[in-house]
Symmetry: C2
Amino acid sequence: MVVQEETKLIGSVAKESGIPIKTIRYYEELGLLKTMGRTEGGFRLFSADVFARLNFIKRAQKLGLSLLEIREFLEIHDQGDLPCDRVQESLRNKLIEVDRQIQELQILRRELGRLLAGEAILPQNSAATICPIIEQV
Amino acid sequence: MVVQEETKLIGSVAKESGIPIKTIRYYEELGLLKTMGRTEGGFRLFSADVFARLNFIKRAQKLGLSLLEIREFLEIHDQGDLPCDRVQESLRNKLIEVDRQIQELQILRRELGRLLAGEAILPQNSAATICPIIEQV
DNA sequence: TTGATCTCTCCAGCCCACTAGAGAGTCAAG
DNA sequence: CTTGACTCTCTAGTGGGCTGGAGAGATCAA
């Protein structure tokens, strides 16, 4: 089989990206990846930009986005022009959420530092009615 | 039943924290929460600091920690003194991971901003062999 | 005492994101 | 033309984190 210059079979995509074949097929099924078509025998053909997509997926996923959310963003990307109002709205919300998440990670960071130093991170005998950890940190 | 001054039944914990009863029982089963004991009839009694714990759990979870990881941190906290070497090691690793995660969130933030502006976030026709999105951003 | 309203345990099922395996077809090299 | 590696689809199972329901007991107000 002569694979066209820029196309890759799923196996080499898997090998180069470190993502299992099964997972790649699963992502394609969900619509996160697109193939350039198939060989006559039905083998998937991927173009080289699949790696950028896989990388985006991996990264976004580690940040807590679901595969469906990621698909939405990839679809916006694929559209190539300004997203419609509804999508802009959802993007803006996500932005806010991401900001909050960054802040919370910074809090967690400090808490882990305290644990390392042998300090408590939660009040041991608190009579607080509203959780103090948020204000406290 | 006369509940002692500082103790709460699971229902009011659920109501005040917004976390379902089932989930609270589940957390206790996993060892994330401890009760102050039970009533004669077997009802769980929680002290007021359960809210701080629940809050910590919720927050940590949103940041991508598993319940088992969270339990580990709570156990360190409960111990109250300097964690042993092995645990310090794991804490330090987690700290590094958190730092990386913060950086990646900042990248994602910029990417979402670009999507909002109608710009592409992935190369459309890239011949890159190594994913460009990381360097690109 | 008798309801209404908790709460208990136990077991089953759901959703997400895979992952394993079976059985069959495809491809390049020799 | 065969061999061996690769790929296909399909079905089913896994693990984490809940969530629902059954059936039974506990608590409390009237």
